[in-house]
């Protein structure tokens, strides 16, 4: 392919972006650098890298953002460069291809015919015009467009198929581009967050995976129920959350979600992602001076108020079977107590301990009254306005691959020439792809023509 050398900086810039060398280099560079992120663990907490890598290596990681390399500036720039390259390359070649794809076909010409090296030939005693008519009939059956032309040396027939398939690569490129743009749109205007929602609770915000920042949703979600079922061998079979969507405090609808069956509503997607247990405990606080008692129902790792404004406390941990000096103590709660007056203390509260042995929490004695393990459902909450573009891109890529790999623009040239005694027929084929396969087709076409000619000849003889 010849290309004009452009002068001046803008011209050279266009040439740079339009070069296929750049595309191939980018494909290789992307392939090679992508390996890094599969070897270096991505998006781990900072401590992980400090423990596993030495200082100089960490410096390199930080410099090139190798711990989140697929979202680094340089990697995004490489992808964008490939996108720009694709656009410039395609736009440059498209007008020429478009012209060919739209043209009504060049038809037969002696010079084009002469340019094809491989020809199938046979001769017949039929007159040239009769043979040309027979050839036209056969060609019309197999090809949509057939043209006949009279040249100085005889009759030329031309037929073609699959001209539009020349646009196949552009369809793939457009699809790839839409996928890239869709990815960009998603990363700019979408978000990916999570929500750990205890059964019975309602939430209207999710937390971003990257920063932990809260994102408000256009509706609230209440988890009515979470259920996990198991196969006989103990493998998990299904995780199901029954969710109610609330808009402005009013129940809109209730639905079940499972893995692979998310809820999609108002551009927000809610996926079943994980689950977990949390503890809900009722503790009894006793004021030894007044004899007054209070029951407090609290959740694990949630700050709660002590009675009478005496301070705050939190259940930080719970062990079903706590071991102390080799002895199993039964269920034990670990509490942090922050009295208003006095220093914070840590206490172990053994369930079922007699009242006189109850530990002190600030001015109170504390006892465990009741507790239960409850589920929370782990929901993945996303919004991705780029998905439509990406999926359109996917469809175009597959369509374009089919067109490009299985269809081709094939042209057949048939030349009928000769004198009264003997007519010569030559058949040749030209394809933009799959030249060998098309040559086979041309050969069988030539055989069919020869056979038809033979039949006509016989018919003519017996007819006389």
């Amino acid at each position: 392919m010849s290309r004009k050398q452009e002068s001046g900086t803008p011209g050279r810039l266009v040439s740079f972006f339009a070069s296929v060398k750049l595309s191939i280099t980018l494909l290789f560079v992307l392939a090679a650098t992508s390996i890094l992120g599969t070897v270096i663990p991505q998006n781990e907490p900072a401590r992980f890298y400090q423990e596993n890598f030495s200082e100089p290596v960490l410096k390199i990681f930080t410099a090139f953002n190798l711990t989140d390399m697929y979202h680094s500036l340089w990697f995004t720039a490489l992808l964008l460069l490939l996108g720009v390259n694709l656009v410039v390359c395609s736009l440059r070649r498209l007008p020429k291809t478009w012209k060919v794809a739209r043209s009504k076909g060049a038809g037969f010409s002696d010079s084009r015919f002469a340019g094809i090296r491989h020809k199938e030939e046979f001769s017949s005693k039929l007159p040239a015009d009769q043979l040309a008519a027979a050839a036209e009939k056969i060609l019309s059956k197999k090809f949509r467009r057939v043209k006949t032309a009279q040249t100085r040396s005889g009759t030329g027939l031309w037929a073609e198929r699959g001209r539009w398939s020349r646009l196949g690569p552009y369809v793939i490129h457009l699809g790839f581009l839409l996928t890239l743009v869709g990815g960009l749109v998603g990363s700019l205007w979408g978000f990916s967050g999570f929500m750990n929602l205890p059964e019975g609770d309602t939430m209207d915000h999710a937390f971003l995976r990257k920063t932990g920042q809260a994102v408000h949703l256009p509706f609230a979600i209440r988890c009515e129920d979470f259920d996990v079922s198991f196969y006989e061998n103990g493998m998990p079979k299904e995780y199901t959350s029954r969710l109610t969507v609330l808009e402005d405090g009013k129940e809109a609808f209730t639905t079940d979600i499972e893995v692979n069956h998310p809820l999609r509503y108002q551009g927000i997607n809610v996926f079943q992602s994980s689950y977990g247990n949390y503890l809900s405990a009722t503790l009894t606080f006793l004021n030894p001076q007044t004899g007054k008692t209070w029951d407090k129902t609290v959740r694990i790792r949630e700050m709660a108020e002590l009675p009478e404004g005496a301070g705050r406390f939190m259940v930080v941990d719970f062990s079903e079977a706590f071991k102390h000096q080799g002895k199993t103590m039964g269920p034990v709660f670990h509490l942090h107590v922050f009295p208003k007056n006095g220093r914070p203390t840590r206490i172990h509260l053994i369930a079922g301990v007699p009242r006189d042995k109850a530990p002190a929490a600030g001015p109170f004695k504390v006892l465990a009254k009741d507790w239960q393990q409850r589920y929370y459902t782990g929901l993945q909450i996303t919004r991705d306005p780029g998905v439509g573009l990406v999926y359109t891109g996917f469809a175009l890529i597959i369509l374009g691959c089919f067109i490009t790999f299985f269809l081709y623009h094939g042209q057949v040239f048939v030349k009928v020439s000769g004198n009264k005694a003997l007519t010569k027929v030559a058949v040749a084929g030209l394809a933009n792809r799959n030249q060998q396969g098309f040559e086979l087709k041309v050969r069988s076409l030539a055989e069919e023509l020869a056979e038809a000619a033979g039949k006509l000849e016989k018919h003519r003889k017996t007819g006389r």
Binding site: V20, N233, E258, S273, Q436
Partner: protein
């Protein structure tokens, strides 16, 4: 539940030996330039293919009998079995259609090694975890492995091409088709593989979006499949635009298959979403 060997796995063991027989016959046919011996190899390969396919369906039925019914496309063992099926089927189709005799010598070893490697894996039928319970599973795994198998055939053709190119009239290469034919067939296999790899990646992305809410997470297997895709995309572009052919594209095809192998096996040593094989 005690792990038991399902009858389909016993069948696979037999098929492994049949493929080995096919391999020996193909090699003997190639070395002694005997199309009849190679033809016997092809008969053995077809017999193996029938057994291989039967074992696939048998395992499917077995899974239903166990109450864990699913198409057997869900772990490494099952992927090796489907790979062998598609690989040998593609081989037979190409050999018959293009009248090749000895391609099997380079492709049957791949099917044999796949099943021999499968013997080292657990053949226990396990029910599907929630993430795998999707119809996308079948489309994704099947198209991905159609792609892998086409690339495997391209690898065989690339190696044959390089051998033929080095000594066109050598003792074992004189019986091979012309280098140009091998080159063209290699390229067509790559195109087929590329199409199915593309569909495999895309179905995987659509599935991931319905299971996890992200169509692309840069998990190691995804990334390696993309690396493979980039390599074969380069091959197609240098061929179409730069007119590269022959040795250079054959070498890229071999590099591409190395990436296929890493996508398939190597990634299991890294962590990620495809941890189940």
């Amino acid at each position: 539940m005690t792990p038991s060997v399902p009858p389909s796995s016993t069948l696979i063991t037999i098929v492994t030996f049949v493929y080995f027989g096919a391999l020996v016959l193909y090699w003997a046919g190639w070395i002694y330039a005997s199309p009849r011996l190679a033809g016997a190899g092809r008969v053995a390969a077809v017999a193996g293919l029938l057994g291989n396919t039967a074992s696939f369906f048998l395992r499917w039925v077995e899974s239903y009998r166990m109450g864990a019914g699913h198409v057997p496309l869900s772990n490494l063992y099952e992927s090796l079995v489907i790979f062998a099926i598609i690989c040998v089927a593609t081989l037979v189709v190409i050999e018959v259609r293009y009248k090749l005799n000895y391609l099997g010598a380079l492709v049957t070893p791949l099917a044999f090694f796949a099943l021999a490697y499968a013997a080292l894996q657990s053949s226990e039928i396990r029910p599907l975890i929630p993430a795998l319970q999707s119809n996308w599973l079948h489309a994704h795994v099947f198209t991905a492995f159609l792609g892998y198998a086409a690339f495997a055939v391209a690898l065989g053709l690339a190696v044959m091409y390089l051998l033929k190119k080095r000594s066109p009239d050598g003792s074992i290469t004189s019986s091979l088709p012309e280098a140009g034919v091998l080159d063209q067939l290699m390229y067509q296999s790559v195109l087929l593989g590329f199409l199915f790899l593309t569909v495999g990646i895309i179905t995987g992305a659509v599935w991931a979006n319905s299971a996890w809410g992200r169509y692309w997470s840069w998990d190691p297997k995804e990334t390696w499949s993309l690396i493979t895709w980039f390599i074969y995309a380069s091959l197609i572009h240098v061929r179409l635009v730069k007119g590269w052919a022959g040795t250079r594209t054959a070498v890229i095809s071999i590099v591409g298959f190395a990436a296929v192998l890493f996508t398939w096996f190597g990634v299991n040593y890294l962590s990620g979403l495809h941890a189940y094989g």
